[in-house]
Symmetry: C2
Subunit: 514 residues, 2 copies
């Protein structure tokens, strides 16, 4: 029984030729990026230590509540933390000591081994946005997401060579009962993508169903010995870990699967309005979560996550893709590296309701901060509009195009004999052009990232072509990609076993709709 | 006689109140930015040395042509360069030695002393885009620029607290004769702005007229002893300095005014298609230009400029705002700092013909690279669309808004007792919100950059407001700003003297239209 019958993803016609070319290009499709540029470290040692000391004080003096999870409290008590009711306080250094068992880098296996990703170190993995109740497109506007939308976004992701991961709850499939939709979501990731994905985390039994489906897919033995799935768990900031999350985290850890832990801090609401304080809080919350995972199973892979946001003075609304969270992410990156943990940071955020100039100003700023800060697993790389509330079809293809550009960007500047082009200067000489010279002919096909979203034509040609804007091009492109999508082959026996499991689980409980 | 009658720029109504608030905000208007974050240095010592060695070889083996400027050739001969016809070659180390007299930092005085800018060091100055023949807006589309457009853009720049400089040839005023328009352009900068500006460079007599007008404005003695004007001079890449430019450069230097020198390299056309080679070429060209300025007048302020671009494989068109030039700029920044020279790098570039998602994806990527690479004087900070060919009214206000955000971004993360908010955690505790806590009340007004371009409302409110996109908001905003614009007061005697000079110069020659 093999997981994949033929290695490359199916593609047809022009798309196949483009993909072919891309693979042979220096900026070509890769299972993940290995960065050629350093991280952007903006804070000095003294400031970093002050933030760490603030986090230590929060942990020792205010502590963190672990609610509705007796086993978590038991683990903390046993480890020597100071437990009062649900509040847990930690002596300075205790959590750092526990985190020493967490791996700095690990592999998440995909059902197509060519798509397995390395999380941590110098590696960067792009994954779609996560968690929107709504979807949007230019034709039909905003509406609640359905399983059809969910599948469409998986197909669009799979069609892009510039994502590396299939994501998780790309949008909520609201046409399926809340207590059953995780089964359909996990199945859709397995069926329509051959990349790694995130499982369900919204209840312990849903986490366990996810793990069981991963075992069916990968085989029990392989799944027990390797990371084949990750779960994305949110802190209930400020300073609360809910049992819903911690029981799920512990279920993933127990099964040897990876746990991504993410404080979600809107400055001034779930944390201080000043960035340094929000970062200290995030550090405290994440360290506590990661350490709990290590208590459950020392050595279980954890990812240090973060989500900073800001607030509009005028409207009181949360704001996304703004400067303060972007620059704050750089510091989060430094702190994660000091702990030796893989990092999940930022992504492509915006408040805009349309795939317009605001969407991509905010989106580009936050996405660049994610790669500059050293994010290893960049959730929310594609699709968000409307302040995390909507997945946009048009924005999704715009964002995957930006991800493509970042493949070129993260290579940095290659300095070698060929790239320095010394002979070309002698050949061309002052005042002449490089169009036809040897060096240009040998290098032009791989020199520059070539977006298939951007208009680079002269004005007159653009005018003659109907004065099309980026959003309209994106609208055409996602439809074309969906029309051309070909599912990666899946072993029929596995498919049947998965469907059987889903059927059994669904039959065992009544629908819950909220 | 004073240059300004009342110190602050005139503003009325809401604009005045906004400006007032901005000035009192921590992200408030400043005459220029002093960066609180380090530059983003992506290349290591060995690679930097290889690029420098390549530049040295280009200078020694291929050399640079200095065309139509006998005096420049005489200066080179006298300095010991190897001059063959118009080709000049330089022994390794010669140019670096000459550059030692160039200042690492200098002040460009504005007619309002509160707006004088510091060029170099940790300082960042934003200046509008430069050189487009066309202008665009959503109402009238693209057309040739006129003096009215030129004045409008100066007024829009002056109205924004987020620019620091009035720029130069913001658009070509094509309704005025080519040999006379420099007089109207310089006058418009003086009349409608009280910030520093760039003078004319397109012919030696135009450079000299500019300098004369600066002398009228600042008084001859002050102008002779201080930098009161800068000129932006382009290399005719590859490896050619034209007499039109070098005579202008020498005129500025002779008058003690600042010279910005900029290679303009479209990779694969005016330089190698590989970034490292294009950077080596740029380094050679800029060093030669800066050194010539030092030969003309040792100690004259020079700015190390750069402009890298790329090419579309599919259309063969030049492309702007793409990943390779963005990351290449970081290296240019490192090289400029190794020479100890102030840096002009990148700006806000795009190929898009509309103020849409593409425009701001490309614009944000290139503008961020300008601030990350350590650009001190960032020309082209606002307005470009259409691959440098058009100034857009809508894009101008979008870009100045981004400049505002970058004021917050460049502060970095402030780490002190207040920002760490230790007491707030004790006050709020786990699971409660920070909305009303002491720390939030004391800090919320200055915590976050507040864009006046972005929509941050909930979806329902945006829907009720007419589903307006960013471009439409920008269209309203530039009209509002023009309507509310108030000219900064200018001494009547100076105004009269300037007009007299312009009249005299215009009367002395026939119109040339090409």
């Amino acid at each position: 029984m093999t997981l994949v019958e033929t290695p490359p993803r199916g593609r047809s016609g022009r798309a196949a030729r483009r993909a072919e070319r891309a693979i042979h290009s220096t900026h070509g499709a890769v299972p993940y990026i290995t960065r050629g540029i350093p991280t952007y470290d903006i804070l000095g040692e003294e400031s970093l230590q002050r933030i760490e000391a603030a986090a230590d004080r929060i942990l020792a003096e205010t502590g963190i509540d672990f609610r509705d999870d007796e086993e978590a409290l038991r683990l903390w008590r046993e480890a020597g933390a100071q437990v009062n009711g649900v509040n847990v306080r930690f002596e300075k250094g205790m959590l750092r000591e526990l985190l020493k068992t967490a791996p700095s880098e690990f592999t998440q296996h995909a059902r197509n081994p060519a798509n397995s990703v390395q999380i941590g170190g110098n590696n960067v993995v792009f994954s779609p946005a996560y968690g929107s109740p709504f979807v949007m497109d230019l034709d039909k506007g905003r509406r609640f997401g359905t399983i059809e939308d969910f599948e469409n976004f998986i197909k669009l992701g799979q069609s892009s060579p510039w994502l590396h991961h299939s994501g998780g709850t790309i949008c909520e499939p609201t046409d399926i009962a809340v207590n059953k939709r995780h089964l359909d979501m996990v199945y859709a990731h397995i069926k329509y993508s051959d990349r790694g994905f995130l499982g369900s985390v919204t209840a312990q039994d849903r986490a366990e169903d996810t793990i069981e489906m991963a075992r069916i897919l990968f085989g029990r033995e392989f799944a027990d010995q390797n990371c084949v799935i990750m779960g994305n768990f949110n802190v209930n900031s400020p300073l609360v870990w809910d049992g819903t999350m911690t029981t799920g985290m512990r279920a993933y850890a127990k099964a040897g699967q990876a746990v991504v832990l993410v404080p979600f801090i809107l400055g001034g609401a779930m944390g201080p309005v000043t960035t340094a304080g929000a970062i200290a809080q995030a550090l405290a919350e994440t360290m506590a979560g990661c350490a709990l995972v290590q208590l459950e199973r020392p050595g279980a892979p954890v990812v240090f996550g973060n989500f900073l946001s800001s607030m509009s003075l005028r409207s009181g609304s949360p704001t996304f893709g703004t400067p303060e969270p972007a620059i704050g992410s750089m510091v989060i990156g430094q702190l994660a590296r000091r702990l030796g943990l893989p990092l999940r940071c930022a992504g492509n955020f915006t408040n805009s309701k349309l795939p317009d100039a605001q969407a991509m100003t905010e989106g580009t700023m936050s996405m660049l901060s994610a790669v500059h800060c050293g994010g290893n697993f960049i959730l929310h790389s594609a699709g968000f509009l409307d302040g995390l509330l909507s997945m946009s079809y048009e924005k999704f293809v715009m964002d995957t195009d930006l991800c493509g550009g970042l493949h070129a960007y993260l290579k940095g500047v290659v300095v070698d004999e060929n790239s320095l082009a010394i002979d070309a200067f002698a050949e061309v000489g002052p005042g002449n052009h490089f169009f036809g010279c040897q060096h240009t002919l040998a290098n032009y096909e791989t020199a520059f990232w070539d977006s298939d979203m951007s208009d680079n034509e002269p004005y007159e040609k653009w005018l003659a072509g109907g004065e099309v804007d980026a959003a309209t091009r994106a609208n055409k492109l996602w439809k074309k990609r969906l029309a051309e999508y070909v599912a990666p082959p899946l072993d029929a026996g596995i498919d049947e076993a998965l469907q059987e499991f889903i059927h059994k689980q669904k039959a065992s409980k009544a629908d819950q709709w909220y």
